[in-house]
């Protein structure tokens, strides 16, 4: 494997680029993929005239019509199941679940049908589909508009899972997901939909599924995170830098498969790792990363991998912000790792 490159906030892709929010980058990517490939179709609640409640499908209904931008009835099982049927038939559906909290009525379709069709058919059928879903807290939505079901997906063999944190990665990973021959869950950190803008390449910008990005270099501690919590993780890294502590910051971007190679190398090299995720802790995705690090490179560790995560409670309303890993909580964990 090549040395990890620092991916700057500005896109490094050649060709035209425009400054976009994450929501805009997603809508533009969908538009380009739909115009490139007539098999790409969209299905979901309010994805039509409404353009999606976060406007991630803005204007696509007008451009591609009701047969390619399908306003479904209010049923996530119908959305995901129909997407599977379309994919098996040969289309490349992109399903939208309005909030990741509402994936559960369609969870059986994901787990029993989508994830297993390739396996159970011996490869005769497959499910090249994408399920997009706004996820995560920090929007005062209470527990049914704030959850992060990523661990459920990661635990389900047959699914791929990505969770970008920047407009540019949102575009690049979504494009890769659409072109992937397996089902990909694209989780989108809704609290960052409109809060950050950056240059997003307008060409066929792809981000490889399974490849993490290094956001900061540093040799004292490694911070691993993804999605919405990247913002807090970077803040923590900045604070550490001011104290003269070098934190390498890894944005996983993909959770299944995840970039074990990069993370294990970093863990082995630096010896101190803090894992940051806003998902609940128990049997969460960061438990997996922690267990893998121990199994593979425990000898090189100077401190145990420490998790800074959402709590094992339903997502609260009044404590919308306190639930999330804050820079302070991350710094406390770094402190523990450094002084272990």
């Amino acid at each position: 494997m090549t040395a990890p490159e620092v991916t700057s906030e500005r896109s490094t892709a050649s060709g035209r680029a425009a400054v976009k929010t994450m929501a805009q980058a997603i809508a533009a990517t969908l538009d380009r993929e739909m115009s490139r490939d007539p098999n790409v179709v969209i299905i979901g609640e309010d994805v039509g005239k409404r353009g999606g409640v976060f406007l991630a499908t803005d204007k696509l209904f007008d451009k591609y019509g009701p047969d390619r931008v399908i306003d479904s009835p209010l049923s996530e099982a119908a959305i995901i199941g129909a997407a599977l049927g379309m994919a098996v038939y040969g289309l490349r559906p992109v399903a939208e679940i309005q909030f990741s909290d509402y994936v559960f009525p369609g969870f059986d379709q994901l787990v029993s049908q989508v994830a297993k069709i390739r396996y159970r058919s011996g490869g005769v059928f497959s499910a090249p589909l994408v399920v997009r879903m706004p996820a995560g807290g920090g929007v005062r939505g209470g527990h049914h508009h704030s959850q992060n079901p990523d661990a459920h997906f990661v635990h389900t063999a047959g699914l791929k899972v990505v969770y970008p944190s920047t407009p540019s990665d949102s575009a690049g990973l979504l494009r890769s997901a659409i072109r992937d021959d397996d089902p990909v869950i694209v989780m989108e950190p809704k609290r960052l939909y409109r809060s950050v803008k950056e240059e997003v390449p307008e060409d066929d910008h792809l981000v490889e599924i399974g490849r993490a990005a290094v956001r900061r270099e540093g040799e004292d501690v490694v911070l691993v995170s993804y999605g919405g919590s990247m913002a807090e993780t970077l803040k923590a890294a900045d604070a550490l830098a001011e104290q003269g502590v070098g934190a390498q910051v890894i944005d996983l971007r993909s959770l299944q498969p995840w970039d074990e190679e990069l993370v294990l190398q970093a863990a082995a090299r630096v010896g101190r790792v803090v894992l940051v995720s806003e998902s609940p802790r128990s049997a969460g995705f960061m438990s997996e990363v922690s267990a893998t690090i121990s199994e593979e490179v425990m000898d090189s560790l100077l401190a145990p991998p420490l998790r800074v995560t959402g709590f094992d409670t339903p997502y609260p309303y009044a404590q919308d912000r306190e639930y999330l890993p804050s820079p302070n909580r991350i710094l406390r964990a770094v402190e523990r790792a450094l002084t272990y």
Partner: protein
Amino acid sequence: MIRESQGFQPFTDEPIRLVGDGGEWLGPAEVDLDRENLGPERLKGFYLDMLTGRLIDERLGRLQRQGKTSFVAPSSGHEAAQVGMAHALRKGHDWVFPYYRDVSLLLALGMPVVEFAGQSFGTRADTARGRQMPYHPGSAELNVFTVASPIASHIPPAVGTALAMKLAGKSQVTLCSFGDGATSEGDWHAGVNLAGAQGAPIVFACQNNGYAISVDLKKQTGSDNIAVKAHAYGMPGYLVDGMDVLASYLVAREAVERAREGVGPSIVEFVVYRYGGHSSADDDGRYRPRQEVELWRRRDPLDRYRRFLERRGLWDDAAEEQARAEIDATLADGIQRALEAGPVPVEWMFEDVYADMPSRLAKQREELIG
């Protein structure tokens, strides 16, 4: 039509309507409202409850626009259906499974304004301790199951209470309220079908406002209306003008009493319209023409019913003025108290996950708070 021996007809093509746009009585001439338990006080009560719903809707909408609450779910246009349902129930005896748009239903059932507002503000006035976003209240005293956001997820639990009632034998009934979009969810079907198979004492009350956010009924389902879906479960389905409070009340009452007497469950569809956006986060201009909204506003449940009362000499401008003043005062007071109750403490986040806090959570609390 009204309370003949067989009661209302299920599966009518047109909604059952008893009061016309001008407030005129459309029902059978011989009906004696008094005998229907509809004396003057009750008739006026309907209006007061609808007015309360309208005014709190407007007031909370203003507070939201001022940034004083994070979210509202407009319900203007739905008042008659909700007030009709509330009056059809034995308050605090029957169970109610509302959805987020049911403010008129809940206040008419007797939920104090301070509780409703407290829940919305997530202050200490919230009996649920600040756990959910606005418009998600519940009440142990009123047997009101706490609202949950996932659409139709309350249907199977509602049926569960009705099954339990059969064992308890206390002549209770469950009323379960939801929108037209909810009927597409698998859980809706699973619950209604179980009720049909078991003959559970429950009424499924659909407020069909023609939209699930932006998705209109044609895209929602292939059937002409919701009531007709009752065929699938072997139960009657009543189609009612949900902007006519008398029709709403009398049909709901019949369905409730039918369940109470052990005859079985039913579906009641209330045809309504929401004047506002889906929520304060919506932009309904993207999917509905303004003329459509204006057209429905002309059938306004309050205006129409006020004319009905006026024709009977039960209402006039003075009564209106006084009622508004009193309701405004009640709302202002409840909202004020809800705001003043102050924020809930951070550590409440870790409570009520289980009956007793597991050591794991206690440690996590420590991690945050020290």
